[in-house]
């Protein structure tokens, strides 16, 4: 007999009691009637409770909540669980319901967290991570949603350290949940395991390269000013570049340039430290705009060498076929200005505009 059937049977068993006591209860002015009234009320209440107990299951932890989702970018393919077709992990504990997804956009990876505080206390929630190998790291949170009021949900976004994603086979996110009322704290963990190969395949969206070096070859398109007389004989503009990106959108570099004049009769060598701002058109295409200044040596076959200064602006487009290749390609346009005046001989001042094609190795 099921729980529901048992409850209904008990409720039905109360009917004879009701039939016996109801006529007495009708005479409520007598002592027997008063007793009967109490008995009838108790029996009716009990029967109702039993009947409802039969229909409504015993209470168990049950929450059903409407919350807000915010997602940054697309899910990282290498971390998608084939059973669910998503990177999503669900967890509960410490009075919290948590859903965590791993996404990437351009060169950043994110932990998208949807939290719901089911407790009656306001709580502060912070997350930190460790790879399965044991390397700990703080996650950088976007926004200021770390405090949740009772029975309130909301999204949290964390920027994930590249080292956590790139070469690890898995990592754990620990959520520290602290009650702001009792100061008690509790930890809730969510474990991610990579389903794709290690290191990441080209499908992984994350592509944050911290260092690069490369070569470029190109030609001058135009020259102006007193330099023009020399520049019109310029045939090539080649060079090397070295760069370091402390953040996804910022690159500090050093360009070593070589201008070939008059079929190699003369040359100009530049050493230009520069800064570049990087922006992303898609997950594989980025562009950079930047500039710098540095010394420029003009070496002429039949005249003494001259030192001057060069200012250089650059617009660059880069494409990388996938992070596993570690290579980037792309065209660039540079404009070099040799100001002359106090910075060098006026007879070598002017502007040079050049187009190049570059190849970079990235790390």
């Amino acid at each position: 007999m099921s729980r529901r059937q048992r409850g209904l049977a008990r409720a039905l068993a109360c009917i004879p009691l009701l039939l016996a006591f109801t006529p007495l209860a009708a005479r409520a002015d007598s002592p027997a009637g008063a007793v009967a009234e109490v008995v009838v009320e108790a029996v009716v209440r009990g029967a109702i409770e039993l009947a409802f107990d039969a229909v409504i299951p015993a209470p168990s932890p049950k929450y059903e909540l409407v919350v807000e989702h915010i997602d940054v970018g697309e899910e990282l393919a290498d971390w998608i669980d084939p059973r669910t077709g998503t990177t999503s992990h669900l967890a509960h504990g410490c009075g919290q319901l948590v859903e965590v997804r791993l996404t990437g956009k351009h060169r950043d990876d994110f932990l998208n967290v949807t939290l719901f505080n089911t407790s009656s206390d306001p709580v502060a929630v912070t997350a930190h991570s460790k790879t399965i190998g044991g390397v700990h790291g703080e996650l950088r949170q976007w926004g200021s949603h770390s405090v949740l009021a009772p029975h309130v949900g909301g999204p949290q976004i964390y920027v994930v350290r590249p080292s956590l994603i790139e070469r690890s086979s898995g990592f754990v996110i620990d959520f520290d949940v602290s009650s702001l009322r009792t100061s008690q704290s509790c930890q809730l963990s969510v474990r991610f395991v990579r389903t794709g190969p290690v290191p990441a395949s080209a499908l992984t969206e994350h592509s944050y390269f911290q260092a690069d070096y490369g070569v470029w070859i190109g030609a001058h398109l135009a020259g102006t000013g007193p330099l023009h007389g020399l520049a019109r004989e310029v045939e090539q503009f080649d060079g090397l570049s070295f760069g370091y990106s402390p953040a996804a959108h910022h690159r500090i570099g050093l360009d070593v340039g070589l201008d070939i004049f008059a079929a190699g009769e003369s040359a100009g060598v530049s050493l230009v430290p520069n800064y570049e701002y990087r922006a992303f058109l898609s997950r594989t295409v980025s562009y950079g705009i930047g500039g710098g200044a540095g010394p420029y040596l003009i070496a002429l076959r039949d005249a003494p060498d001259h030192w001057t200064w060069a200012l250089r602006g650059k617009l660059e487009l880069r494409w990388h076929p996938g992070r596993s290749s570690g290579l980037e390609f792309g065209p660039a346009l540079t404009c070099s200005v040799l100001p002359g005046g106090p910075f060098g001989p006026n007879r070598y001042s002017g502007e040079l505009v050049a187009a190049q094609l570059g190849l970079w190795a990235t790390f």
Binding site: K62, E64, R83, T84, L90, E99, T118, G153
Partner: protein, 157 residues
Amino acid sequence: MKWGLMGYAALAVGCAAEPPRVVAQLALRGEVMISNSPMVLRPQGPRRRNGQLSFSYSFLVENSGVATAALELGEASLRVSGRAMVVPCKVAGHVYTEYLLAGQARVRVDCEISVAISAAPRNSQADAPLELSVPLELDGHREAVLLRYSLLAQDAG
């Protein structure tokens, strides 16, 4: 005047924006969590075919307990306009009447929903809520999870 017109235009555009069909839901039954995030992250409108509106409602189920939970997919039902109808639900492309979800396991369930076009609201300001009920049994207790979806006036064509 120009700014006023632009304001009205912005308001009109804002008002004309399609209301969400699905709101994010997280549910907990015992040690089993349910999320409809696949529907939230990749919202989809119903397809019209042979007088029917069809769509797949996907949700995630994760059992963080030790005991096995039973998803009674054969009893999944959709409540529309006060009536309930049985809905076939799939796991990994197979229709199950009951799916046993072991402890520490997770799964994605896709329920194939098909309702008459007449279920869509005629009034553009209204929506017609559908409720998908999926029973699950845990430790001898049976409970249902209700997942919601809204049909919009545009679905009626």
